[in-house]
Symmetry: C2
């Protein structure tokens, strides 16, 4: 793709065809500007097969807003749509519709509320709420889902990996296994979710981070092909990076060649007054090798050298490595906690693809229509009760218990404020037998989660920095119950409706089924 083609492929036509065919139907009926409201939410946590998330981390909003604010139907887009033909050979899109689209086809009428990036989020709660004229609110659906679903998916995976790694440095290394340019969004999301740096230079430049990475096997291999040795390669590297010397030690044999050669070079550096950074292990039994490598490093006095682990790491494999180190290290006289505290994780494929569940099923559903002078809640009933969305204009609240831990996310109608409630009845979103009452004494704080972001196309707040998002994520995760944070079979966090919203939902379901209640 050249630049011009990329502008087409990533502009307002970054959407599904049916959004535009529906827009023409709405235009033909005079409905194109009818005010409507859509909710964006996901129905269940990522399920990675043998393990499942107990929370997600919101991400992707800022880039979606950038898209929204810079996209409109340009002449080129209109001309392309004009070329499309119906089966009869007539133009698919009529001239008056295309003229309307050229003139009005931007997002200046869109208002948007959202849960900020970095925050912990849960299923069946509104993450992004879009209000605006029907045709354009529909056209943005695809890009919103694409961008926010994907970054949320990756931020969630990063948070799991970071938690399992006990907060040790975690580096995103997945660019080569990423999804074309989508890898940049993934690297950003990984930083929000818990990675501390990325090997991706371009996205580091854009976000103001220092990219991470030292050398590949090919450095050693090249030296060997020229008749030199691993030690020569290490020396050449140390010569150029005396203060950032991190050596990949598994090209030939980790314990017999790589680590001893690294130690030789580290000793040379030390004599010149430099502190070596560490070694990287990229193959073999990473738990065993890190125990043995740490013994060799310690024996040579390099007790503060890091040991970077890489090679298909994810939350399960890191967990397994830590378990094995905890059991096995003492047998070799190594303190497992000290060893673990020098580990760094380089995580590639399994983070950037959200291995096990490579898509988040976020959806975008019509919840209200302005009709005959008033907002009417809309519903789509489903055969599975848990798939029936919550109708109307709503707000989202997080309730903290006396310990300061989040105990439930509460979805209310827009005019409700749980601060004003004497006690709060939490209704399960679809199971009428399940509810819970919280009194004022049970509650330490109630926090609104949705923020106004866009009012009629204009940003009404500054974008937070990635560091802000990372802080938010860390604070939110710390306020989760440990059971919710478990990587295996996490405790199910409570998402609830207020009684008023519950009643409205039941009323609309009954009406849609032709029953009066």
């Amino acid at each position: 793709m050249n630049r011009e083609e990329q502008a087409t492929a990533e502009g307002i036509l970054f959407t599904d065809m049916y959004q535009i065919t529906m827009a023409q139907v709405y235009y033909r009926m005079g409905l194109q500007d009818k005010p409507v409201q859509f909710d964006h939410f996901f129905r269940s946590y990522p399920d990675y097969g043998s393990h499942k998330a107990g929370y997600c981390v919101a991400a992707g909003l800022e880039w979606f807003l950038d898209w929204l604010q810079s996209s409109h139907f340009r002449d080129e887009d209109i001309e392309y749509l004009r070329t499309l033909k119906s089966r009869s050979g007539d133009p698919l899109f009529a001239d008056d519709f295309l003229a309307w689209l050229r003139k009005n086809g931007d997002f200046s009428g869109i208002s948007l509320m959202a849960v900020p990036e970095g925050r912990v989020i849960h299923p069946n709660t509104p993450i992004t709420v879009v209000r605006g004229p029907l045709a354009m609110a529909q056209i943005l659906e695809t890009s919103l889902l694409n961008q926010i679903n994907f970054q949320t998916l990756i931020a969630t995976k990063a948070a799991r990996i970071s938690e399992t790694g006990r907060g040790q440095l975690m580096l995103e290394f997945g660019l080569r296994r990423g999804q074309d340019r989508g890898a940049n969004a993934a690297a950003r999301a990984a930083l929000i979710g818990g990675a501390d740096a990325t090997s991706n230079v371009g996205i580091s430049a854009v976000l103001g981070y220092k990219p991470s990475g030292t050398h590949a096997h090919s450095l050693v291999q090249l030296f060997m092909a020229m008749g030199m040795s691993e030690l020569d390669a290490f020396r050449a590297f140390a010569e150029v990076y005396p203060d950032d010397c991190l050596l990949l030690v598994d090209t030939i044999n980790t314990l017999e060649s790589g680590v001893p050669n690294a130690i030789k070079v580290f000793e040379e550096l030390r004599r010149k007054g430099h502190r070596p950074l560490g070694i990287r292990l990229d193959s073999g039994d990473l738990a065993y090798l890190s125990i043995q490598a740490s013994r060799q490093l310690d024996a040579a006095g390099f007790t503060d050298c890091s040991i970077v682990l890489s090679n298909n790491l994810d939350e399960l494999i890191i967990w397994q490595i830590l378990t094995q180190i905890t059991e096995e290290a003492p047998r070799y006289g190594v303190d497992p906690d000290r060893l673990i505290s020098r580990l760094v994780y380089g995580v590639g494929t399994r983070l950037i693809t959200s291995w096990g569940e490579p898509a988040l099923g976020g959806v975008y559903k019509l919840v209200a229509v302005y009709d005959e002078g008033e907002w009417k809640p809309a519903i789509k009933i489903s055969e599975s009760p848990e798939k029936t969305p919550n109708p109307g204009d709503k707000r989202l609240w997080r309730i903290y218990d006396r310990r300061g831990k989040a105990t439930a996310d509460l979805v209310s109608l827009h005019e409700e404020d749980p601060h004003q409630m004497e006690s709060i009845l939490l209704r399960h979103p679809s199971d009428h037998t399940k509810c819970r009452v919280l009194t004022r004494e049970d509650i330490s704080a109630i926090e609104p989660l949705l923020e106004d972001v866009l009012v009629e196309g204009r940003l009404v707040r500054e974008h937070p920095s990635i560091e802000d998002m990372r802080r938010r994520r860390q604070e939110d995760v710390e306020r989760l119950d440990p059971g919710v944070r478990r990587i295996m079979y996490p405790h199910i966090y409570h998402v609830s409706l207020t009684q008023t919203l519950w009643d409205l939902k039941q009323q609309l379901i009954a009406a849609a089924r032709g029953i009066s209640v």
Copy 2:
């Protein structure tokens, strides 16, 4: 990201940090322009868990070449690199290196051979071969792997789904579940691999395809929220698209509401002289519903209306649907083959994410170095013999048997030509006990697979069209043995080495191990 940031994130800095740190080491040693050769290949077919591919489809080359030809170290890139500091606080990259990079940091020295897009490819054979100056040949690694691995992964999944769907129309619907801008690459790859159209408007515009898609549940839902009905929504749609009328019939109840309402509208269209296109089923038991819907459509005389199926389809689910239709349709007096021939598949999440295996493990390995006046083959030995790459400058051949079916891919040294061989000894790449002899009588054709694409930065051939690639893929797939095309436990296609290459490999392994042979 704004445009400027995007140019940074997707330009030459779309690479891993270690490529640039290694480049400085090479520069410091005067090795930056040493001619080297890298092979790009993958080690195993995608393994989706319960099923596994028996072949892959090459894709992604053209966009990678676009990147290669438009990327170089700009002033902005150099200035960013200049800001990076070592742990001591000194600049990480020295001024002389950055000046060299600014002046020489492009891909004008790179030559490239590749297997063309759309062709069937197999593991452990060179798909892309890069020759050029060391520093720049190394810097392009990450982008090459990112772009060609991902599109090959998706083209491969599309080919599987298309094959299972027995060549019926297959539509790519995954944009909303795609990976940010990576979804455009995926849509392109899906078209190469077997999708006949995509719902993605922008990429359709760029590639010259007609995007597919009609309407969403929200159309029906909106009408209902305004006090109107599903039938009203269908009529409004038919009014605007009388010759392209495809109605989504599962918003309320497929068989009791959706299909009967669609038929009413189709009858109205027929009376006005239009031919309705069909219906789409997006939930429920798609096999059962398509049988019953086809009965209703047939009874009303709409025997040529298509039935589009969507909802988490992939090769296994389509296979299951077809199996169920074959068993169940006759019980309802429906001819299964006729029903199957009216089906169209809309495939979303599971195609665009390559569900089950969301990354292709393609690698990029040094195979030769020009040193002391001659090309020297390079090798990296591995503890797993099948992971030791094939050394040297090589060529790739496909050998067809007397039936015209591909019987083996043969990797030779560059100076060998199997056309000149009396009989061909096919050596297994790592297992010395396995070999096979083909005589001239066994062979109907021998075809070279690698084409010269780039010579010192200049394209030496036209890019084929997507239609060319689709044709190639279809021809290649038809020339595979049916056993290789199976979606479950496919027959393992033979990838072999010539005796000369085998001998060279053994010699280098022995030398690396310090054994003389």
